[in-house]
Amino acid sequence: MVAVSPAMAEYFRRLEENLNEALSVAEIARSRGYDPTTTVEIPRANDIGDRVEVLVGVKGVAERVRILEKEMSREEVSLKIGDDFVAKIFGETTREEIVDHAIRTSMGILTEGVVAAPTEGIAKVAFGKNDDGTEYLKVYYAGPIRSAGGTAQALSVLVGDYVRQALGIDRYKPRKEEVERYIEELKQYNGIQSMQYMPSEAEIRLIIENCPVCIDGEPTEREEVSGYRNLERVETNTVRGGMCLVVAEGLALKAPKVMKNVKKMKMEGWDWLQQIIDGVASKSSDEEEEPGVHPKDKYIRDLIGGRPVFSYPMRKGGFRLRYGRSRNTGFAAAGFHPATLHILGDYLAVGTQMKTERPGKAAGVVPVDTIEGPTVLLASGEVRRVDDTAEALAIGPSIVRILDVGEILISYGEFLENNHPLIPSSYCEEWWLQEGGPRHPENEMEAIEFALSGAPLHPDYTWFWDDLAPAQIRRLAGIVSERGRIAGDALRVVNDPELKAILEEVLVPHTVEGDEVVIRTYLVFLACLGLSLDLNLRRTWEDAPDGPSLALVSHLSGFTLRSKAGTRIGGRMGRPGKSKPREMKPAPHVLFPVGESGGARRSVQNAGAYKDRSNADGGTIHAETGERRCPQCGAVTFKNRCEACGTHTTPVYRCPRCNREVQGPVCPACQGPTVCLLETDLRVKEEYAAACARLGMRENAVKLVKGVKGMISRDRTIEPLEKGVLRAAHEVYVFKDGTVRYDMIDLPVTHVRPREIGAPVERLVAIGYTHDYNGAPLTSSDQVLELRCQDILVSEKCGDWLLKVSQFLDDLLEKFYGLPRFYNAEKPSDLIGQMLIGLAPHTSAGVLCRLLGFTKASVGYAHPFYHAAKRRNCFAGDTEIRVFEEKGWRSMPVRQFVLENFDLAEPGLDAAGTHWSPPKRYAAVQAVDSQGNTKLRRVTAVSIHRAPKHLIHFETARGKTLEVTPEHTMLVWDLCYLRKVMAMEVREGDRVPVAEGGQVIADTVTAVRYILCPEEQVYCLTVAEDHTLAANGIFCGQCDGDEDCVMFLLDGLINFSRSFLPETRGGSMDAPLVLTTRLDPKEVDKESLNVDVMERYPLELYEAALRYAPPKELEKAIDHVDLRVGTPGQYEGFRFTHDTADISAGPLESTYTTLGSMFDKMEAELELGEKIRAVDVDDVAERVLNTHFIRDLMGNLRAFASQTVRCTKCATKYRRMPLAGKCPKCGGKVNQTVHEASVKKYLEMSRRMCEKYAISDYTKQRVEVLDMAIDSTFGKEREKQLGLADFM
């Protein structure tokens, strides 16, 4: 039982109660028989055991897992459970079943029962014959195995071996040509998708020759191998992506972890792993152990036009690190002063991702107003620090230069999470207070008194002396002494450019009056320069040291001084936040087929008006639906409820080959797959009329009800049309699984104020928030409450949307199911306390949560546990790619590498959705280039654990298959950047980056099998699409990581059905197959355990940081969740070091999203870059040219001359122009997919940038050469220069 306090127990009880209430309503609704099944299809799962049981579908597993977990680590459980299967205790009958269930179950356990790998990643198991007559085990891996992560992939092989031995089956003895086939195929796959790691030939040979289980796979790519074809024991000539992943990213890359388990379980026949470990280890030995830290420019390597850089790596004027955790930071979110957010052009809004230099790759932006804001130079010559949001907005236009962008608040937990050495903090009051500072000084005189009595000088009066060279300090002292005077409470010095420049470095606030610079806080300033009040050099100058600067001023003044700058951290804008309803494209209201006759809008009404020929009655279309039969009267229908007798119908399966009815998914006679298919003349018009009548609505009450073209699920189950009419009436759209959802970026928050979340105090008290975080009774809306872990805040826009959905659901209950209304909400705040389901991209487990309030920002705020429970370790981040990946892709954006060196052996290290454990040591893996140059570098588009990025295997119009691993994240072009989506979310027709001949270009996905680019701190796990994973020819991207969605609990319970899910592999990703009802910190993503919960960091931290100590050193000294696991304290009693007045302060929408064209974005970016001291704008321009514009120009130019065409009428795509010159299918006009204008869109801008900024000759010539190539392709005459806006 989870350790909880009585208060938490009460909280969980309430949740349970609410859940049960919803369940009972849903059960009645479902029992009416209008839905695909008569029972609720989202089972509840409280722990891993339950989730696995539901996911894999083997009864009794949950109980065994619970028992075994008490005795051993999770990895051991995953192996041991195999014994139970061998003993047939779960009722398996055949050997295949035993092995199959054992492997799936253990994969489920290893991946926390949240990802689709166990069900979708393994296609089947089979037995083969060795040449000596013995049998061996073959495991067929499929694309989605990517979602499992390398370790779980590798361990699944181990499980197979374990079970195999127990069953007395011999090992796999590969033939020579089979080994060569593996080598060829892996190489080819790596060419297609770029794996995280490509083993050498010798490694592959070693693995295949020794691995006791035959790693086989389903064909995932489009390419076939060319050398070792038609082998007797290898069923396909097509490249098998799943197999390649398991060999390369699993066994080869994760050999150390596998070895650990082998030893623990005392398994035999795996000693050869040691050779791989030794081999791999020797390769990475040259990795530098760096003392201190050095600038890292990785985060600006792939610059996308329009996303500004705010600070170059460790450059003067960049973000200054301050340690601390505010209510809303930690867990990959960093705090900035709202004034900073505004002054940086409003680019950073709440929830915007920022790519950072360190400690992790990315951070979510949140406002914290108790830290320092930026220091700016105004047109009047005044230099001032801005710590007030209103002031920041007021002076905005008069800022000529941003000398310092202000502080960045990062928690200790982030360093721990990323295993990044601690780095010196900027000098701040909380540190000063622990070093003997008695209290905040009232004025400069008092600060000096404190300093003289032993404490260091207070940070408010500490200027940036260490940014100056000692010679500059001498020079400054000289100038002030010669040309200064003290008059009227201020130091006045005759202005000149040299003096001004130095003052703008040391950042002492000053103004310019006439020809004099006026410094009002001059006492400390003079003391530090070794000047007396009459501006003469004091005697301390006589024995002044040469340097360093800080020691010099300390000597001159006699104060102890600490660095005000501390460590500067670079950052640039990543992805803007997002908050909008989930809509498929085109967005349907109902899963009801309308075929071609619905038109491009898939209108049910249009389909109803369709006439086969003129004069016919019309309203009937031909459609493929599922075949269902009424058990009562035997009527055959496509509906879920028999029209004749009202009985719930059941699907009928037939074998298309044997043409007979069979039970289950496989034909017993021919072993072929069965189908559930009824070719129907669908009377759309009548159906629609009947639906409206049943709802008591007029037929023209809604103008447009949108259906889908055809059904894609196995059973081709359709939804009752009534649901569509009601959704249309309330303007909500259905997702592929029958639910309606809202997507939001995720941010962590541990404490809230009623005032900032729009929740009335009485309401909060009513739902259990009776006391504030200090234990005082809740009476005022300004008190701080500690957030319960399953309560969430959504954006106000989401609140409006929820209101619409609740009305839809109420209407549905009342008019369709004949049940009482449930929500009865009139305004969003009426919904506070209602239950929702939270779901992260690419997961299969939803998390039960409760609506607590609304934020103005376009983000979702929730407890770190909640985020972690859904997290599937995807990569976060866009890959910007390159890619295209960069890999990723990339390119494209592709992106990335991940650190891999997790210590699998540590117990309890699996994170939800991915396998994760803390790195054993600080190790960099090979990096992949996310931009896309794929083949040269290894990019991974796979999911990885640590960094966000990602994918699935896709086929594209250019004949690539990409992958991002299915579980990888993939990249999709979104306007001008590649958006990451899981590979599984990539749809046909999406444009993905592909690498061709060293360049990255955009390609269109024509078939989705499964892409990537991870970045950020999130772990990525998936590789979904990536295949591009990049790369891979395609680049994968990183996943966006923290975006997830919410839906109403009741919506999920009533409207969700597995039978709507697409038949394709990966179809069950992103669907709430199970519901986690109670969060156990032990079982959520381990990242949340690194959230620190102290009110003040100890002095030790600051001192350790000065030595660049590893964060682990302070693990015990700083209270964080990990230390509390297993006690009631794991849920409550959290504190924070910095408060903030409003968690939605600062810009609410990023400038990036409000600027229209790339031209405007680029202009604005460069203009801002010119203002910021910490940014080298010439370099920004060059990087954007290189990583974005030139790539785009090259890619599109090439794409133009190898483009696909598309029929304007039926949208069929052709790889090349048909000879007929028109669409062979429908005779429609075929049109180009790449236009001259899109090839040229960045040309003019690139040329202008070359003229305006100091761009290297190399880059300039590249633009020049491209310009010539474009001329020669399209002809010289540029009759008119189209405005850029014409193309955007």
């Binding site: 140059n933 060293g998 190898s1202 007929a1220 050469v1265 001329d1271 020669s1272 392709t1273 399209f1274």
Partner: protein, 470 residues
């Protein structure tokens, strides 16, 4: 329908062996009487029946050729013939031109019906018919057969090649966008065509290469990659010294990738010793100026060159020709050049990348095999839409027509020489040592080789400059 075994055994019965080409010819003609006529016409003492023995087949090149003065003449691909794309619709014209011209090459051998006629009328069902089409899609079926979608301007048809039929290995090599002829039967319902025989445009069996009437030698090189840090400068100087001493060499032909270029692949900047594109060309200009003036230097661009990537690639623009000797002839890619009447088709070879990835068993190590596939298809870059961009025009300049004496390519950096039906295929290697990319891909180039072509005998010799003194 004659099958191979039957043909071979008919010849064996009269103690004759028969060459595979003859078998293929007989199959194509599908005339059982032909075998007797061939046997009858075979001279006494013949052991192997070669195409020469086919009565109707006379070598067609009579040796008369009107030579231009000077002796080096650009027949196709002269400077400024590549046009810009005016209209996207030109792709229709382009592919139709490809279809029409390539089908002409097959018309003597099969009697095609339009696809539309196949599908529309019932009269072809169950009867052996032939048609010609351009491949729009190729895939393997679950049973390992090949399903090929082909189209002509009138319609589309699915063609199934059964793996158990003879000649399936050729069907496995069917590429998207090549033009093929098939003979076989239409299915009952008229939706699938079961192919018996696959016919390609191919080089006529009767092809006999022209040989120069007077002595003369040409040197063929490609992929110099000036500017790269792996360009083999010393080896080049050895080559320059050697060629200065070879008085009878009158021509130097370069098949593209003259310089390493800029921005061709990511991170290229780090691998360049000359980062300025103008200076790269200037360096090559200097190198060529040092060669004897008697040489006519034919220069064609490649994918690393400064011109557009879409083929046909225009000749190197005048802005980059500063410092080059006057004896340079600037041509496009591809280009057909007559050297003393010997026609050399110069093509850089971008399409190797696509074809090697698509043809089973193809390897970068054996470029000549791929060149043979080009000849069989009478097309330099059959696959559209992959790595070889193609700029459409009224005529398809990538069609191999007329049949040249020599097909000369580069790009893969591995030399290879082979003959196919009288056409000499030459890939000339490179002047760049193994690059980082090649190391990663495990390809080993054959750098610093020059192929010497005797125009009179059409014999070749490879001269290696990699080691000093050789």
């Amino acid at each position: 329908m004659l099958c191979e075994d039957e043909i071979v055994s008919r010849f064996l019965a009269t103690s004759l062996f028969v060459s595979p080409e003859v078998v293929a010819y007989i199959k194509e003609q599908d005339d059982p009487g032909l075998i007797d006529r061939i046997i009858a016409g075979t001279p006494e003492g013949t052991v192997v029946v070669s195409p020469d023995c086919i009565p109707a087949l006379k070598k067609v090149r009579d040796g008369t050729r009107f030579l231009a003065d000077p002796v080096c003449e650009v027949l196709a691909g002269m400077e400024n013939s590549a046009e810009s794309i005016r209209d996207f619709e030109e792709y229709i014209t382009y592919f139709r031109n490809r279809f029409t011209r390539l089908s002409t090459f097959m018309r003597g051998r099969i009697q095609p019906v339009p696809i539309e006629a196949l599908a529309r009328t019932g009269r072809y069902q169950e009867e052996e018919v032939s048609f010609i089409g351009m491949v729009s899609n190729v895939r393997s079926t679950a049973n390992g057969n090949k399903m090929v979608e082909v189209e002509d301007p009138t319609g589309t048809m699915r063609v199934l090649f059964n793996k158990s039929r003879e000649g399936f290995s050729e069907a496995e090599k069917i590429l998207p966008d090549e033009v093929i002829g098939v003979r076989g039967k239409l299915s009952q319902d008229g939706t699938i065509f079961f192919a018996n025989t696959l016919v390609r445009p191919d080089i006529p069996l009767s092809n006999a290469p022209y040989r120069s009437e007077r002595p003369g030698r040409a040197v063929l090189i490609s992929d110099i990659h000036v500017g790269s840090d792996t360009f083999l400068e010393d080896e080049w100087h050895r080559f320059a010294d050697w060629i200065s001493g070879q008085e009878d060499i009158g021509y130097l032909v370069i098949a593209g990738d003259l310089v390493d270029g800029i921005g061709i692949y990511p991170g290229q900047e780090k691998e360049l010793v000359i980062k300025n594109i103008y200076q790269q060309y200037a360096a090559l200009g200097e190198m060529l100026s040092a060669l004897p003036e008697r040489l006519t230097i034919v220069i064609s661009p490649g994918n690393h060159d400064v011109v557009r990537g879409a083929e046909p690639q225009p000749a190197i623009p005048p802005a980059f020709r500063i410092g080059y000797p006057a004896n340079c002839v600037w041509v496009e890619n591809p280009a057909l050049v007559s050297l003393q009447g010997v026609r050399v088709l110069i093509y850089h070879g971008r399409s190797f990348d696509d074809m090697i990835g698509t043809i089973p068993g193809a390897s970068y190590n054996r470029p000549a095999e791929i060149m043979e596939e080009m000849l069989k298809r009478r097309h330099l870059a059959p696959i559209f839409g992959m790595r070889t961009p193609i700029a459409p025009g009224k005529k398809d300049p990538l069609i191999i027509d007329p049949v040249p004496e020599v097909l000369f390519t580069g790009h893969v950096h591995i030399s290879g020489i082979k003959r196919y039906r009288g056409v000499l295929m030459i890939n000339a290697g490179t002047w760049q040592s193994q690059t980082a990319f090649q190391k990663q891909m495990n390809t080993v180039p054959t750098p610093a080789q020059a192929v010497v072509l005797d125009l009179q005998s059409l014999e070749t010799e490879i001269v290696d400059f990699l080691t000093p003194g050789s």
